[in-house]
């Protein structure tokens, strides 16, 4: 298939592997930020092809994994109300809340629709004027423009029965949090290509300067990933730190200005809790005052935080790179994709799901 086969080319892959091998002289810890990259690395068998000195750390770039339990519980609660249609992306469905998942809520009668775009939710709202339609908006900067646009469209159409339950998170504050952890072992980053498609490169310059760490904006196919790794390793071996763009065919310096403007119009940055990790300052997108009528939290109330409930899931340690999924005592026994303890086991971008699916046996 055009634009994919070229980036899964075995000859190119092995050429890049040789370049990496001839460049690396000492151990390096490289974090791929995005869960899509983690899956690419595992699915194509790349982790086992890399030289031993390079250890990939699977970052927190799985938006479903870091969505707080309280927000999932809120979504479940809303879905069980008679007058609510709850819409979300398929990824959210199996993620466990504090007692059940949305999938289980659907089996108990919740009206839950899986959509591919929030604009479809606006259509559902238009077609069901007697119902409240809530879109559970999960994702990084990549999905934020479409979710913002859904609010702008609903606003323009004067729809009052549409709202967004925003669980949006942002990548740069997460990198900041990882680097400011005194125990961090990360030497360099593969930044998430699709996030930068929207946002461009400018947010990453200050991070490179402040933490003196190489950041390479990288794609998701084997050739992309290996080229990104080689670019990070080359900088590290030369004692350099720069922002580089491996994913040039998709990411431009300024990003998608229209999309950025939609996000800016609808959302503002506030502190957000990341499941398993904790609060990260200014890392979440929340609806602005002007659009509060479309904010599900304003409309239906803030979620109740269940205090004192200890999660068995060690997703936080995994997403900070402190342990690998198989090091978790529950991996593969108490926690499987069918009976997950935490989100990384069921999300399509979760590190545990990647290891469980492709590396078991």
């Amino acid at each position: 298939m055009k634009y994919l086969d070229e980036f899964r080319d075995s000859v190119l892959v092995h050429k890049l592997l040789r370049k990496i091998r001839s460049t690396v002289t000492q151990p390096w810890h490289i974090m791929e930020v995005c869960g899509g990259q983690t899956h690419g690395l595992v699915r194509h068998g790349i982790l086992d092809m890399l030289p031993e000195q390079i250890r990939m750390i699977h970052g927190p770039g799985c938006p479903v994994c870091v969505t707080p339990v309280a927000l999932i519980d809120k979504a479940i609660d809303l879905s069980m109300r008679n007058n609510v249609i709850l819409c979300s992306y398929g990824d959210m469905l199996r993620v466990p809340g504090s007692s059940i998942s949305l999938q289980q809520a659907r089996a108990r009668g919740g009206d839950i629709r899986i959509l591919y775009t929030p604009l479809e939710a606006v259509t559902i709202a238009r077609n069901n004027p007697s119902k409240e339609v809530v879109f559970f908006a999960v994702g990084f900067e990549t999905t934020a423009p479409a979710n913002a646009l859904s609010v702008l469209q609903a606003h323009k159409a004067g729809l009052r029965n549409y709202s967004v339950l925003s669980a949006h998170v942002l990548v740069p504050p997460a990198i900041e949090a990882i680097m400011s952890d005194p125990g961090t072992i990360v030497n360099g980053f593969l930044a998430a290509g699709h996030v930068c498609t929207v946002m461009g490169l400018s947010e990453y310059e200050p991070l490179v300067e402040q933490w003196k760490v190489p950041i390479v904006v990288t794609g998701f196919e084997p050739v992309d990933l290996l080229e990104g790794i080689w670019m990070v390793v080359s900088q590290l071996e030369n004692g350099e730190y720069r922002l580089e763009n491996q994913y040039r065919r998709v990411v431009s310096k300024n990003g998608n200005r229209v999309a950025i403007e939609w996000i800016r119009q609808v959302f503002e940055h506030r502190t957000r809790e990341w499941r398993g990790i904790g609060e990260i300052p200014l890392s979440g997108l929340f609806l602005r005052e002007k659009f509060k009528h479309y904010d599900a939290l304003q409309k239906f109330g803030e979620p109740e935080i269940q205090a004192g409930k200890q999660e068995d899931c060690r997703s936080g340690d995994i997403m900070k790179g402190k342990i690998k999924p198989p090091d978790c005592p529950h991996f593969g026994n108490k926690c499987t994709p069918v009976f997950p303890l935490g989100a990384p086991m069921v999300s399509s971008e979760g590190a545990c799901a990647a290891y469980y699916q492709y590396r078991q046996k």
């Binding site: 892959v13 194509h44 068998g45 398929g90 959509l115 591919y116 971008e349 699916q357 492709y358 078991q360």
Partner: protein
């Protein structure tokens, strides 16, 4: 238009009275006309001799009419194929409907027509059946159950217990067409594609392979829900052997591959309705592939892998770039990914 008396199904059509009679006589019986049905006995009388395969399946697909077929095609072909991959020539079917009040007469008629056409194509006879109607909201337009019996070919020696290390795994054509065709019409996911379902009967090609290669054909199965990956996992679980497959050998169509990339699906987990996996002894694999490729739907048939002693219970995939990974088991509903 044979349903001129009504434009949609009502509860009365399942009441057993005059409306039921009209529905059956003007609809089902007129299309599937045979002595068993017109006799209207409580049970069909059949004269059987020899070893038979017996299989049942229920069909609940949404939408009920989709690119390349209807739930009616699936209901006939699905059971026909379960018999065919068991080495049996499908002969008789039962056909039961659960209709939802409000189902459009025209839609039901189209489904009945596709059932008739599928029966004619396979030569299978519908000899008994049932119709029930449930209140609106208690069904999803129409559910169909079919049960079939067919005589097992005397040369068929099929079963997972016959599978040996070294056996080759053949796939009769490109995977995932049906699932992607259905998905393209689901609310919230609609996308434009010219892809059609692969629903089709497999009995002729299955019989041909058994006649030609007899016990060289170890095992056949049609990978419907759960896709090819689920069949491969069934094999390794039951035999406690391993399987190795090569990503490069998979006969993937560009349009299917593109849709799967977009939705985040692995084509090996997507449903098929006219495809089969065939495990054969290594000696006959080339000849068997040749037979498959000369079948009218088999141009893209391929040897996708082989059975091994290593990693018992696991399916290993050699990725296009020379890496290795285990092929996971399907964990339930296929869910499109976020970004």
């Amino acid at each position: 238009m044979p349903f001129r008396d009504f434009d949609s199904i009502t509860l009365g059509h399942g009441g057993g009275g005059k409306l039921t009679q009209t529905l059956l006589e003007n609809g089902v019986f007129s299309l599937l006309n045979n002595d068993w049905l017109t006799g209207q006995d409580d049970a069909a009388n059949l004269v059987l001799d020899g070893k038979y395969a017996f299989s049942t399946d229920t069909f609940v697909v949404s939408p009920v009419i989709f690119p390349g077929g209807t739930i009616g095609d699936l209901a006939v072909n699905g059971t026909v194929n379960d018999l065919a991959v068991s080495g049996a020539k499908p002969e008789y079917l039962s056909l039961s409907f659960i209709l939802e009040e409000g189902l459009q007469g025209a839609e039901f008629w189209e489904i009945l027509l596709s059932i008739r056409n599928a029966c004619s194509e396979t030569g299978v006879k519908v000899v008994t059946g049932d119709t029930k109607v449930v209140e609106k909201g208690k069904g999803d337009k129409i559910f169909i159950n079919t049960t079939g019996i067919g005589k097992i070919h005397s040369s068929a020696k099929l079963g997972m217990k016959n599978i040996r290390p070294g056996d080759k795994i053949l796939l009769s054509g490109p995977p995932a067409r049906h699932g992607i065709a259905i998905m393209s019409k689901r609310q919230g996911l609609e996308f434009e594609t010219t892809l059609t379902s692969d629903t089709r009967p497999l009995h002729l090609i299955c019989m041909q392979l058994i006649e030609q290669f007899e016990s060289g054909i170890r095992f056949m199965r049609d990978p419907t829900r759960g896709g090819v990956a689920t069949v491969l996992h069934d094999i390794v679980r039951h035999t406690n052997l391993g399987i190795e497959i090569r990503e490069n050998s998979l006969p993937l169509e560009n349009e299917v591959a593109g849709a799967c990339e977009m939705l985040g699906f692995d084509p090996l987990f997507v449903a098929n309705e006219g495809l089969f996996v065939c495990v054969v002894s290594p000696e006959i694999s080339d000849a068997c592939l040749h037979t498959l490729q000369t079948w009218k739907h088999g141009a893209q048939a391929a040897v996708i892998g082989n059975v091994v002693n290593e990693h018992p219970g696991g399916v290993l995939m050699h990725s296009k770039i020379g890496g290795k990974r285990m092929l996971p088991q399907a964990s339930g509903e296929l869910l499109p990914r976020i970004c």
